[in-house]
């Protein structure tokens, strides 16, 4: 009895000592499986940096906007695979604006207030961008906007990665005025009925004042409209020799179909009456049969057919990720570039604070993207970009017929259209000129 008790006491001590030793060695062991270390609380997982992605995944704009979501997610995945930003992974929070401005506001509010995000990549239509801008200004968060747009806007909380009219529409018109473009004299303007087309048409009308091209007609169709019969008839009656289309979303499918049908009936082909579009890219062309669009033009900064090693890598990576039949287009290039520029700015600032990111971006960060080099204009948060004019070929791709030799400086407030308006965030900010009426 006594012996058993003594043995029992000794054994207990040894077991306690062994248990303590085991725990100490476990805690100090470098060879321990990281997963076990996690469970023991020995390793801190880096806290992800959360960013928002806000596009229309459903509704009339989904045809155009879902590829932007995919591109932004691909860029984020690439960055995460390379170690993230400041050693932290990026966690995207994706929301669907459903092609409705009111829902864009609701989703943006949720991203900024419920999730507490400071950076969002998003929007396509100018109406959705304008709807959410006050929220970003109020919360001092940053919105990275990847679309070509009408200009006439400046916000310290926005970075505009798309082309302004002087980088996209006006060089296209200049080309059509030249010998190479056929010295066109009569232009018809057709667009979706919202801010971008209305402002873009206004800028075109002002630009053409005193030039050898006349605006012979102008029509607008509601966003998402499917009936273009009357508008196409007006175009054909007007005897225009060039159509500028600022139609957005899947309305483009119906417009090109009906244009082709009626133009063929009238004996007019794309050489005689070409359409130059500003919101059509390789993605929209997927929904159209090649014979409906072949020979027409698109003004942009990027086409999938841009011949550069960076672009080839970008296209290849996208196809590998999403499928061989997927295509890349101009807004996707901007969407891709904006994520990388944000990363560069966060790394330069050493912080995700919007104010510090803004300051870093304003220090002229350059980036070599699929469409070539881009450089920020710190005065107005827009980007120096190239202009390219593409002619649609039988593969629903573009033959680049013209390319600007240099990067074009962005002009969100062209003086001939918005006299007195200027923006310089490095000095006095936005200087307002006379109020402007967009009506003809």
């Amino acid at each position: 009895m006594v012996m058993e008790f003594i043995l029992y006491r000794r054994l207990s001590r040894w077991l306690v000592c062994a248990a303590v030793l085991a725990m100490v060695s476990l805690a100090g062991c470098d060879q321990l499986d990281p997963m076990w270390k996690d469970h023991l609380g020995l390793v801190d997982k880096p806290v992800p940096i959360r960013v928002g992605i806000l596009h229309s995944e459903t509704g009339t704009m989904s045809i155009s906007e879902t590829p932007l979501r995919d591109t932004e997610l691909m860029a984020i995945a690439e960055i995460n695979a390379a170690g993230g930003v400041l050693g932290r992974p990026i966690e995207p929070i994706v929301k669907d604006g459903r092609s409705r401005d009111d829902l864009f506001v609701k989703r943006a509010r949720s991203l900024l207030e419920d999730y507490g995000l400071q950076t969002v990549f998003g929007c396509w239509t100018s109406s959705s961008r304008k709807a959410v801008t006050p929220l970003f200004e109020q919360e001092d968060a940053l919105l990275f906007y990847p679309l070509q747009y009408e200009g006439n806007e400046a916000s310290k909380n926005l970075f505009y990665f798309g082309s302004t009219p002087n980088q996209q529409i006006l060089p296209a018109i200049d080309w059509f005025l030249s010998d190479a473009g056929g010295n066109r004299k009569k232009i018809y303007l057709v667009g979706s009925d919202y801010i971008y087309p209305r402002t873009a048409h206004y800028i075109v009308r002002k630009y053409l004042e005193g030039k050898e091209m006349e605006v012979v007609g102008e029509s607008f169709a509601p966003l998402g409209s499917r009936d273009f019969g009357a508008i196409v008839s007006q175009i054909l009656i007007s005897k225009a020799d060039l159509v500028l289309s600022t139609i957005n979303g899947d309305s483009n499918v119906d417009f090109y179909q009906q244009f082709h049908q009626l133009a063929i009936q009238a004996g007019i082909d794309s050489d005689k009456l070409p359409i130059v579009a500003t919101s059509v890219g390789e993605n929209e062309l997927r929904s159209l049969l090649p014979e409906l669009v072949q020979g027409h033009y698109v003004a942009a900064s990027y086409f999938q057919s841009v011949d550069s090693s960076i672009n080839r890598r970008f296209v290849q990576a996208f196809k590998k990720e999403y499928g061989e039949d997927r295509v890349t287009d101009d807004p996707m290039d901007a969407a891709y570039v904006q994520v990388y520029l944000w990363k560069a700015a966060v790394e330069a600032a050493g912080s995700t604070d919007p104010q510090k990111i803004r300051e870093a971006l304003e220090k002229t960060i350059e980036f070599d993207g699929p469409g070539g080099k881009v450089r920020i204009d710190p005065r107005n948060h827009h980007f120096y970009k190239k202009f390219r004019l593409g002619r649609i070929n039988g593969n629903r791709q573009f033959d680049i017929v013209h390319e600007s030799p240099e990067l074009i400086q962005p002009e969100p407030f062209p003086s001939f259209a918005f006299p007195g308006w200027e923006c310089d965030w490095t000095k006095d900010g936005l200087k307002k000129g006379d109020p402007v009426s967009l009506d003809p």
């Binding site: 058993e4 997963m35 469970h39 995944e57 989904s62 899947d250 997927r286 039949d325 997927r326």
Partner: protein
């Protein structure tokens, strides 16, 4: 409860639970047994009494563990069936869509690919964490919108379109069932009963009067087996969690097919 166990590879988890339970048994045998022996005052028939109580308790506890193991396995199999049905339904939808004329065919296939890709690459990892994935919903809505925009021009197209719409609805049902199963699991109250029962079982073993080495060996063996049983139930519970979970393989096969279309 205890969801972290699903992050541990199955062999390690099995070992952890078996060793953990044996350790509890051993520690109790060493530290608690002397106190309990005082409690039963070294009666000569203590082993008979404890053995009788332990066998009664063992019947109830064994039944509980056995029924739970069977229920978990059946649930696992059931959810596996739901996933297989869903994949089959999606595959049929893909077949229907390939019959559409261009360019609708390409656009619809692209949307289905986008959805399937999401299921494989995003939804499944979320399900493994017990989160019901939401991103598939918008992708299904986008597909439905595109499907509804198609206007059949021939009688053949009308038949294909009607079939595709019907198949789409069937698919939605199957998908909904899968999403409902993401959070299916044994109720927490039942787990508490299992764990408390396990501790009581081990505590009864501590009451036996025998040589220390024999006690350690027999108690450890019984406890390790209980740990293994609990490992089995835990692995089969939450069918989308852990290493022993339902895989996204059926969807991966469809995705590979769609990537080639």
């Amino acid at each position: 409860m205890f969801y972290w166990i699903y992050d541990i590879p199955s062999p390690k988890l099995a070992l952890l639970l078996a060793v953990g339970f044996a350790l509890i048994s051993w520690l109790g045998t060493i530290f608690v047994r002397p106190i309990l022996r005082l409690f039963v005052r070294r009666r000569h028939d203590v082993n008979d009494i404890v053995g009788y109580i332990l066998s009664c308790f063992g019947v109830f506890y064994g039944l509980l563990l056995g029924l739970l193991a069977v229920a978990s396995y059946q649930n696992f199999e059931n959810v596996e069936g739901i996933v297989a049905d869903e994949a089959a339904s999606l595959s049929a939808l893909v077949r229907d869509v390939t019959a559409y004329p261009e360019p609708e065919r390409q656009n619809l296939l692209w949307l289905l690919r986008d959805y399937t890709r999401y299921v494989v690459k995003d939804a499944w990892p979320l399900q493994r964490r017990g989160i019901v994935p939401e991103g598939g919903n918008v992708r299904m809505v986008a597909f439905h919108e595109r499907l509804l925009k198609f206007e059949p021009k021939t009688a053949g197209q009308e038949i294909i379109h009607a079939e595709a719409l019907g198949q789409f609805n069937k698919y939605l049902e199957a998908r909904r069932k899968r999403l409902f199963s993401v959070t299916t699991s044994i109720p927490a109250a039942m787990w508490y009963v299992v764990l408390v029962g396990a501790v009581m079982n081990i505590a009864l073993v501590w009451l036996f009067d025998m040589r220390l080495v024999s006690h350690l060996f027999l108690g450890g063996l019984l406890s390790a087996f209980m740990g293994m049983m609990i490992f089995l139930i835990a692995s089969l519970d939450n069918p989308f969690r852990g290493e022993l979970s339902i895989s996204s393989e059926p969807f991966q096969a469809i995705l590979e097919q769609l990537m080639e279309e």
